[in-house]
Symmetry: D2
Subunit: 324 residues, 4 copies
């Protein structure tokens, strides 16, 4: 794009805020807050995580990582994985994917089945559960579940440049035992022919990629290509085309926080995707790849402190995509 001049609102002589300092400040502010949201209880393994934790990692343009709080503690990334399975499935199926999944905000909770009935089994977008299951099904097609999961995990390791990332099988097993709502969604889509594979296998892939464990640092590393027009800035290698990177960001902005997506855009002003493990990845295009984590959730299922931290970061750094 065209080089942007300094924004009209940035008076000459005002120092650019120091990212390292801002990250440290925010981590400290979050550490001491009393309001921490509610830890998700529907998966026993997630319910055991302490709400006291808060982590943040910001990777800037130069590849420098600013990490604070519990930013190196791994957690269950849950729905954040959907950003990466979408990227992988678009690489495999291209725009054919959009015949199975829409790209409109849903106006409904993450696990609503009503929308599916109204729209003949086509999920509204790839970030509600139904949509992500349809994406998993596309990745699975032509493979064994083990192979599909291996591909997803290797993609995460590649993006994060970290071969130690693994799947927490206890979390996956726990979800598989109790994931009746997701089984309902999958069977429902299968009844419309939106899924191709046996429902159990598709759900197996879905539950396992949601159970990938990563730290904020690893997640922020993995998101860099979205902040840099599809290119990994360290290696200079292209992960996706610039257009596809922009489009994934657009879907994160409109659909990344369930029925709190409008609120996140309004307050934070960055593309982002949350998970019920309390993590959020956010992208400041051309500026930084960001991950925050705090297990307490708001009523929409998004990390309470995570959103506050991102709101503060976006504001102090002037990173909102909606300002100049």
């Amino acid at each position: 794009m065209a080089p942007r001049p300094p924004a009209a609102s940035m008076p000459i002589g005002i120092a650019v805020p120091n990212l390292a300092e801002v990250v440290a400040e925010i981590a400290e502010e979050m550490r001491v807050r009393a309001d921490r949201g509610e830890v998700a209880t529907y998966i026993p393994e997630l319910a055991r995580v302490s709400a006291d934790q808060f982590g943040i990692a910001v990777i800037d343009n130069d590849g420098k990582a600013h990490v604070a709080g519990d930013g190196d503690v791994p957690f269950s990334i849950q729905s954040i994985s959907k950003v990466f399975t979408l990227t992988l499935a678009l690489g495999k199926a291209g725009n054919r994917l959009w015949k199975r999944v829409g790209r409109e905000p849903s106006g409904s909770p993450f696990n609503s089945i009503v929308q599916l009935e109204r729209e003949h089994g086509i999920p509204r977008n790839p970030f509600i559960n139904a949509g992500a299951i349809a994406v998993s099904d596309l990745i699975l097609s032509g493979h064994q579940p083990r192979e599909a999961l291996g591909a997803i995990l290797r993609f995460m390791q590649f993006l994060a440049d970290d071969a130690t990332i693994t799947i927490d099988n206890a979390v996956a097993a726990s979800e598989q035992r109790t994931g009746f709502r997701n089984a309902a969604l999958a069977n429902y889509m299968r009844s419309f022919g939106v899924l191709d594979n046996p429902v159990d296998l598709t759900l197996g892939v879905y539950f396992h990629h949601c159970a990938i464990a990563m730290s904020c640092r690893q997640l922020a590393m993995a998101g860099r290509f979205l902040a840099h027009n599809g290119i990994n800035p360290t290696t200079g290698l292209s992960v996706v085309t610039p257009e596809r990177a922009r489009r994934i960001n657009a879907i994160m902005l409109t659909c990344g926080h369930y029925d709190g997506s409008g609120e996140f855009a309004f307050r934070v002003g960055l593309p982002g995707k949350s998970g019920v493990g309390g993590g959020i990845i956010a992208i400041a295009p051309g500026q930084a790849s960001i991950a925050v984590w705090s297990p307490g959730l708001d009523p929409s299922g998004n990390s309470h402190l995570g959103q506050l931290a991102l709101e503060a970061l976006s504001k102090r750094m002037g990173w909102s995509i909606f300002g100049a």
Copy 2:
């Protein structure tokens, strides 16, 4: 915000695209296209407008207007007016407004009443019809309809720096005669206490501000404050705070095109608001205020050529807010 360096993807030595040329190219490309969408027929006055027309106006950072095609022909701005009544109502009521109107995408057509029943009469956002009627009601409170409309019209004239802008009373009268769906929405909200004023008066204000007639040039002029952190760049005067400008842009991005909002974000990557008259206003933060117009609509009720033109403009100028 911090000054942005030239994007990594912009190779040194590549010329910045020339906005004047790009605007002229796009106008010519749109002029010759055979696919033009369907002109809205539900208001007789709108149905008479020829689908052959296409206009575009882009006001750049220096205040220079690039206008092509039918960019100086006035048309019925319809729902585009909702951006400006929202701005006005926020100035009057502040964040109290958000007790009556949400800010989440609706996942439903513009005139759906289902969402209102589920959410106790609170419209999902200020850009669906119900939400805009609630905003009109806030502007009306404490005033006569004539005064409220005068305030809205003067605000448009002030923003566009053009005292000739008027309301097309034939369009307003036509909508008032046939606007039973909007009367249903208004009465429904009134039954929940979301409206304060007599339904007829509130609807009168609503129908009339939707009937304001403006050209692309006038609309693009009126939108400049949203591209420049709330400041009118010509006068240097502040219209709204930088935060409010960003937030209005965020709502346009997530809710500005009814149930085509996700698609618009995906393809165009700019905050925008459409109207059934065929106009769209779009904001490239820090770069430009844009208006396009072509009366033929797509099935979601958004201008067919208008969207194509904005997609081309955003792509060629590198203005997507989702890229670096």
Copy 3:
């Protein structure tokens, strides 16, 4: 139909229960109960009525009236009037009526607008508010509101053989002032062309016929034709054909108690229609026409004691249409 032999379950020698005694017993049982439901508050005039009251009237095959408790106190019949406007409109429009109104149970509260959106403005049945408004519109067509109301009132007086029945204008005016939900329904149907007349006039007719005041005795008298195959047993004159009488009873059974219709069929086993004034009319085909009244309502909007009384009456008299 064929004469029915004594039911197999009725042992020879068991005395037929005495209707007069049963009615008196039930009135006494209801008088002393502490649980009385909640009086409707949405219309100020209805909210002032004391929950202490209970009335019952049963007109048997011989035209003898068994009246107890407050069975001669007039009350606002509200939605019970819909049985009679349906009868009148069928007389005027014949089966053409069923192009504008369905005859399926709604599965929704009485004032739901969701169903209308899904079914293109056609109300599910003539006993939900939207359906009754559409019926009022049919009665109004070709007349002034005053004439239409006169026709409805005279029909009630004729059926009840009582020229003193009147409309309580204070109740009608109160509903007209606050009936925003009904105005929403009417405008919504008008937007689909389901109503022909100006919304205000149709609603005027609707609100006024709901405000007719009658006692249990008068209501039970008015319902006799439905218990006797369409014939007024006193005069021997036919009000409707036997088939039409059966069909109106069928709609009362499936749709007469909003989303408590299944429950009423299950517990009482008689066609019936309730009103938020606390009245219920019920029909024991070939046996009796019945009206009860007690202002306290259950959560579905049906008279709490009224339903209990009808359950007891149907059981003790062996009148359920579902038994032999």
Copy 4:
């Protein structure tokens, strides 16, 4: 109940219609009709059945069977089985059953999942698929699927007094392979705790009892207890209490034909339950137990000729429960 006198509308000297003749007439009228509806295609085994067939069986008060057409050809009873599983489950669980299943008409197609979301996993009534699955789950609890199915089959054989009735395993297997929508419903209810058993086992019971094959004669025999206050008139043994028989009839009347239930009550005026195999059982309380069968369905999924035949039968015999 009290013995009913001959209805006032039955002029003295008019002969009671002859049931044997009426049944024969109707069978002939149906045999020659050209309009036969559409055979269900979603189960391959059902799709192969010829639409040319029509059968009828009526068992009168004296236990005499009037059978005509293909009334002795076995067919897949499908949802008609739900009447009998409900009876069995009420015997096992009593009114506790109503904590898991409602008894209101649904206002939705038979396999809608929307209603479940709105009502927290509680199906509206035991005759929509979700409700019948919940009933199967209650029957299964404490047993192996084989035992539960054995109990259901023996109950049918006992009621029909015919030990040759069997389950068509090819139909059951076919439904199990393709029943994704039902798997969605079951998993969805399980997510709310409305089902207790493993979803696969509950669905196995459900699919198999829907695959019971019976002729009209066998079905009409099985329904006799509902026409006679819960008593098998041949043996004099009580199957259920009179009150329970009436209540099952009431649910059949309000919910027995999916979203065609109101229409069936309106036209036929008898409690009845249809299945997508083209069968319908209907009860004329105190008069007869009836079964009809013709595989072609109307858009609501109910046998087209079956309904016409029942309408004619009810009318000619004067059996409507809504007339005197």
